[in-house]
Symmetry: C2
Subunit: 341 residues, 2 copies
């Protein structure tokens, strides 16, 4: 009996040791952001998490209020040379034209079919909107999701020849995980299509569909021939989730001011301002694309004109410095850019 | 040393016993819905949770996909004789008229100021919309939230003389808790104002602001005189979260089809249909107000005409039966209606 007790005690001791080993103490000793070089940006993230999660801190934030919002294109993954969703739209044009052959002679469809990239680069907002309506609406929401999923499985980025979902920035993935491990709900707040991003957000970033705020079109509820309820994507904009639309979208979809926001372009300016204007600890960060070798270099720090994609102007850079937003230099702050490096 | 070991072992054993006592086995033996009488409605909830959370079940739903949506007025709390938010609007009219005295001679403000309830009961949708714009827009979102909070602290329901937030149905609170304990994210999907409900949803139902889908007005991002970013409530409807607007709002805000939905009026019909039309186990339930003594009786089962508030028509009842929605009879299915009983 004594032996049995001793063994039983040993088993318990081992179990408990295992529990302690998994506890918060052990976690705190490993670097939560291993792909970040030591520097102001990394320190800003670590300090922010420390002061908002330490109950003894005057800037403690209750777990329920811990909201962090991230732009996607250029902040969480590559946006050059063309937003992936624009590629999706262009890739769908042939099928649309096949279904309606009269479109082949009409702009902007004619140019897309011609494959003339120089001409496509000159498309106006109105052109893209026309293509968007033709390729992103009129189908059920399930059909749309299935088509996005199928496209993502075959589409490849032109430079790395990899699926778009592999072109996420490893340091940002670490930041998302670090915040979540500390009780933050992470959201994507994107100018991209909300239901486009929702298709892959959970697998790609660990962010569920209900935590994606994006540019959103209306849907129309109705019934199919068999009387089954159907939601059909309608050609009507509900939320243009860019610029002022970002804080407005955050209020609509989340209803709380974020404690942390990260962006990379003028389209994120109002979100970063709104986040920073809250009480207590508020972290606003902006990603600077200054690494032509490992990714791309564009924007003011390069002395380059603002690109059409991801416009990071000199004025935005000046505001970031003035307002105390942390600037993330891809070149200096990131040890690794991609997981596949 | 042996004694120390023995004591240490005892402490460990006690700790482990405590852990086991808190485990799933012990929980399963208590009734998760104690305010429900045994019957089809209670059984439908228990069966649904069992078959969607048991990994061996063919209808198992992965935790990330467990979404349940609840109408509020008449489903989670009392909606008679007048929606609480309408009371809020009416209570705010004197302050609005004080700020703009010329309104005192203009309808519908004149009638509200007169206190003539019979005349107010005849207000059209357009009248209410005009009052809504005057009382719910033009201020910052923070000012609005503070005003709702202050009103909720003093406003009382006319029958029970209690704060509205105490007039929630205890059985529905139990259902919310039971679903959450089984990994469901619970949402309110209400025709009421989204940002009105968000003020009290966390304290009242344990549902955070970001899980409230409701009728939503636009906001406008701008700057105050000091240059601080401000979101101002604008007189523009973004989402009318009634009828077809409910599944449309669910797609916009959640992006997943719910596995369970509960409603109580024709405004919930499309949401209940949409939920039920999904694959696998889908629970659609409808609350029947047939308890004049403990709450109110209105709708078809009473042989009463559909009330203006919470219209539950005979056609809806027939559809519920035909589609296999579970009907919750307040009189028969609920042991207790309110926690304060």
């Amino acid at each position: 009996m004594k032996l049995v007790n001793s063994i039983s005690c040993l088993v318990r001791a081992i179990l408990l040791s295992a529990l302690f080993a998994l506890g918060p103490h052990a976690q705190a000793q490993t670097d939560p952001l291993p792909s970040w070089n030591d520097g102001q940006a990394k320190q800003a993230i670590i300090n922010f998490v420390k002061e908002t999660t330490d109950q003894a801190s005057p800037k403690f934030v209750p777990p329920a209020e811990r909201i962090a919002t991230f732009d996607q294109d250029g902040t969480l993954w590559v946006e050059q040379p063309v937003y992936s969703q624009v590629m999706f739209i262009l890739d769908r044009v042939p099928a649309v034209v096949k279904a309606k052959p009269e479109l082949a002679k009409v702009e902007p469809f004619k140019t897309v079919i011609s494959g003339n990239w120089e001409a496509m680069a000159k498309f106006t907002e109105a052109d893209l909107e026309q293509l968007g309506v033709a390729t992103l609406t009129g189908m059920s929401v399930e059909t749309f999701a299935a088509e996005v999923k199928a496209w993502l499985e075959i589409a490849k980025d032109p430079r790395w020849k990899k699926p778009y979902t592999e072109l996420t920035y490893l340091p940002m993935q670490e930041m998302l995980s670090f915040l979540r491990a500390n009780g933050y709900k992470t959201y994507i707040v994107t100018g991209g299509g909300q239901d486009f991003v929702r298709v892959y957000s959970e697998a790609t970033y660990g962010i569920p569909p209900e935590q994606i705020v994006g540019t959103a079109g209306a849907t129309t509820f109705g019934y199919d021939k068999a009387g089954k309820p159907v939601l059909t994507k309608a050609p009507k904009m509900m939320l243009n989730d860019n610029n002022a639309g970002k804080p407005e979208g955050i209020y609509l979809m989340i209803g709380r001011r974020p404690h942390a926001s990260v962006g990379n372009s003028t389209g994120d300016r109002e979100m970063l301002e709104y986040t920073r204007a809250g009480d207590g600890a508020r972290l606003s960060m902006i990603v600077l694309h200054d690494d032509a070798k490992r990714e791309y270099a564009y924007g003011p720090a390069q002395g380059l004109p603002a690109s059409k994609v991801g416009t990071f102007t000199q004025a935005l850079y000046d505001e970031a410095v003035k307002q105390g937003w942390a600037v993330i230099s891809m070149k200096n702050d990131w040890k690794k850019v991609f997981a596949f490096e």
